[in-house]
C-alpha cells in the first residue's frame, strides 16, 4: 500500500464542450477532493454542475459526444483510460430523478443488480443489501415491492442504497432532493447524515437547497457558468453573503439575517451554519 494518500478526485484544467454547442460547459476547472471529504457543489442552473460530476465518474467523455481538454483522475483512474463500468464500481452516481435509474421490478432486484454484475457470492450480496438498507433506513417489507410504487423519498433512498451496496470509494449525488417534497427531502438528508457518520466514503452532493448541506459539508464549491469561483469550508464560504447573492446562490435566510445584523454593527461573529445557531445569535443581539 502506498503511504501517500492520493486524492479521491483530481480535476486538472478541465474543459468540456457538448457536440453541437457553441459554448464550453466547463472552462478550465481545477479541483482536488480528498478521500473521506463531504463536498457540496452549488451554483445556478446551466452552470455545468451536472457536467462536472459526470466528468468525475467518466460518463463524460465516455458516454457523451463532445470535446474534452485537460484531465480527470478518479480514485487513481484517468477517466479517459477506463470504461464507465470500471469507474462506476469505485465512483457511484445517484441521479436527481431516481426513476431514470431503476431497471428491475422489485426493490430487492434493484439492490442486487450491481452486486450480481460484480460476480459476488450470494452471502456477500445478502449482507451488503442488509447493510445498505440499514443506512438508508429501508424496511425489509420494501424488498418485494416494485420501486415505482414507492413515494419519492423512498425511491431516492432505494437509488442511494443500490449505489451504496457497491461500496464505492466515492458517491456522487446530483441534486438528490430536487424532485422531492419536503418530507422526501428530509428523508434523503437524514440518509446523508447517516452516510457521513457510518461510511467513510468521499461524498459529493450537487444541491440547490443549502439549509442542510451547510452544516454537513467539509468543503463547498461554487461553480458559476463553467468556472470554479470559490472553494472553501462552509464557515468561510457562507461568510461572504453578498458574493453568493451576486452569483445567484441564495443562502438560508437565517444567514442573510445575521449578515444584515453584522452590517448594522449589531453583531461581529461568524455566520451561523444551522438555523438554531442563528436564533441564538439573534437572541444574544437582543439581550446585548
Amino acid at each position: 500500500m502506498g503511504a501517500v494518500a492520493e486524492p479521491a478526485i483530481k480535476v486538472e484544467d478541465l474543459w468540456w464542450k457538448y457536440e453541437g454547442r457553441k459554448d464550453w460547459a466547463l472552462k478550465g476547472v481545477n479541483l482536488t477532493i480528498e478521500r473521506g471529504e463531504f463536498v457540496g457543489i452549488v451554483g445556478p442552473n446551466e452552470s455545468g454542475k451536472t457536467t462536472l460530476v459526470m466528468a468525475m465518474n467518466g460518463l463524460i467523455p465516455n458516454n457523451y459526444r463532445g470535446v474534452m481538454k485537460g484531465r480527470v483522475v478518479s480514485v487513481g483512474m484517468d477517466t479517459r483510460e477506463h470504461t464507465t463500468a470500471e469507474i462506476a464500481r469505485r465512483v457511484g452516481f445517484v441521479f436527481s430523478d431516481p426513476e431514470s435509474q431503476f431497471l428491475t421490478m422489485t426493490v430487492e432486484e434493484e439492490l442486487a443488480f450491481g452486486l450480481e454484475n460484480m460476480g459476488l457470492p450470494v452471502e456477500e450480496i445478502r449482507d451488503r443489501i442488509r447493510w445498505a438498507m440499514e443506512i438508508t433506513r429501508l424496511d425489509e417489507e420494501f424488498l418485494e415491492k416494485p420501486p415505482y410504487e414507492l413515494s419519492g423519498g423512498q425511491k431516492q433512498r432505494v437509488a442511494i442504497a443500490a449505489v451504496l451496496a457497491m461500496k464505492p470509494d466515492v458517491i456522487i449525488l446530483d441534486e438528490p432532493t430536487s424532485m422531492l417534497d419536503p418530507i422526501g427531502k428530509s428523508e434523503v438528508f437524514d440518509v446523508l447524515v447517516q452516510l457521513r457518520r457510518s461510511y467513510n466514503a468521499t461524498i459529493i452532493v450537487v444541491e440547490h437547497r443549502l439549509e442542510d448541506i451547510a452544516y454537513l459539508a467539509d468543503k463547498m464549491i461554487l461553480l458559476y457558468y463553467g468556472e470554479v469561483l470559490r472553494v472553501a469550508p462552509p464557515r468561510e464560504f457562507f461568510d461572504n453573503i453578498p458574493f453568493l447573492l451576486k452569483h445567484y446562490v441564495y443562502p438560508p435566510e437565517i444567514m442573510i439575517a445575521v449578515h444584515r445584523l453584522r452590517e448594522e454593527g449589531l453583531y461581529d461573529g461568524p455566520i451561523p451554519l444551522r438555523f438554531e445557531e442563528g436564533v441564538k445569535i439573534i437572541e444574544e443581539v437582543l439581550r446585548a
Binding site: S178, M179, Y248, I256, A257
Partner: protein, 290 residues
C-alpha cells in the same frame, strides 16, 4: 358581487375510492394572488384541478365568475381558467414552440391572424424570443420549457391562472424570474394561484395563503397571519420560512411573530434594540425570578 372563484362544500373522490377533499368552502376574488400549501396528499392539487375544471366535483360545486364548472363547455372553461402543470413536459406535445402556443387559440376556432396575434402577445409577455418559435420545445432548457407552457396557457387569455409548483427544479434566479412574471400578470388583472412547497416563495409573493391538510382547509387568510399560526402549521407539517420561525422562537423578547422576510425580521430587531425592549425583558425576568 360575483367572485372569481367560489368553491361550495366541495367533496372529491378519485375513481379508486380515495377521498381527497372533504367539504371544502373557498372564495377567491378577481385580482388576488393566492398560494395553496400543505403536505403531499393534503388535497391542494386536487382542489386546484377542481377549480381549473380538470376534475369535476363529486359533491358540491365550483363556480367560476358565477358559473358552475359542471355546466361550462371546454371553450368557456379554457378562457376562464388556465392550469400550468408542474412538469412542463406533461403539457408540451407540439413540434415547434409556435404550434405549442398556438394550439389553444386554434381550438378556440380563431382565424390564423388572430392566432398569430395571440401567440406573439403570449411569447412577448413570457419573454420568449422570436428565434425560439420554430424550435422544438423539447430541446429547450427547463426554464424556457416552463415559459412555453405558461405562454400556451396565456394565449387563451384566461382570467385565472393556476401554476402547480412553479419553482420546482429551478434555481433561485429562475424562481425569482418566474414569480416576478406571475406578479406582473397579477398586475395586469389576472387572478393567480400557485400550488407550492416553497415557503420563501409564498412569503415573498402570495398575499393570501390557504393551508390544506387531510382534504380540508386548515387555515386561510393573509400570508403573514397564516404563518404566525405555528402550532396549527406544525400539525399540517408546514414549516414557515426561517425569518418567521426565528421571530416566533424569540417572540418573548417582543418580536412580532408575523414577520415574513429577512427585511422585516431585521427591522423588528432594530426597532426592539432602539426601544430597549430586550433590556425590559431581562429586567422583567430577573424581577419574576426573585
Amino acid at each position: 358581487m360575483t367572485h372569481a372563484i367560489e368553491v361550495r362544500n366541495l367533496t372529491f373522490v378519485y375513481p379508486d375510492g380515495t377521498l381527497a377533499l372533504k367539504g371544502v368552502d373557498l372564495v377567491i376574488d378577481e385580482g388576488e394572488f393566492a398560494a395553496f400549501i400543505g403536505q403531499n396528499g393534503s388535497g391542494k392539487t386536487t382542489l386546484s384541478k377542481n377549480i381549473a375544471g380538470l376534475l369535476k366535483p363529486t359533491e358540491g360545486e365550483v363556480l367560476l365568475f358565477g358559473r358552475s364548472t359542471k355546466e361550462m363547455r371546454i371553450r368557456e372553461l379554457a378562457t376562464s381558467v388556465g392550469y400550468v402543470f408542474q412538469n412542463p413536459d406533461h403539457q408540451i406535445f407540439n413540434m415547434t414552440v409556435y404550434d405549442e402556443i398556438a394550439f389553444g387559440p386554434r381550438n378556440l376556432l380563431l382565424s390564423e391572424d388572430e392566432v398569430r396575434e395571440r401567440v406573439e402577445e403570449a411569447a412577448r409577455i413570457v419573454g420568449l424570443k422570436e428565434e425560439y418559435m420554430e424550435e422544438s420545445p423539447f430541446f429547450l432548457p427547463k426554464g424556457l420549457r416552463q415559459r412555453v407552457a405558461i405562454a400556451s396557457i396565456l394565449a387563451l387569455r384566461p382570467k385565472v391562472i393556476i401554476v402547480d409548483e412553479p419553482t420546482t427544479g429551478q434555481d433561485w434566479k429562475q424562481s425569482i424570474e418566474i414569480m416576478d412574471f406571475l406578479k406582473h400578470l397579477n398586475g395586469l388583472g389576472h387572478t393567480i394561484i400557485i400550488v407550492t412547497h416553497e415557503m420563501e416563495i409564498v412569503a415573498r409573493y402570495a398575499e393570501r395563503t390557504v393551508v390544506m391538510a387531510e382534504g380540508r382547509k386548515l387555515l386561510d387568510g393573509p400570508t403573514n397571519k397564516v404563518f404566525a399560526e405555528a402550532e396549527t402549521l406544525r400539525k399540517a407539517f408546514v414549516k414557515p420560512p426561517q425569518p418567521t420561525r426565528a421571530a416566533h422562537a424569540l417572540s418573548h423578547y417582543g418580536l412580532r411573530p408575523d414577520v415574513l422576510s429577512v427585511d422585516e425580521l431585521v427591522t423588528e430587531i432594530i426597532r426592539l434594540k432602539a426601544s430597549g425592549a430586550g433590556d425590559n425583558y431581562l429586567a422583567q425576568r430577573s424581577l419574576g425570578g426573585r
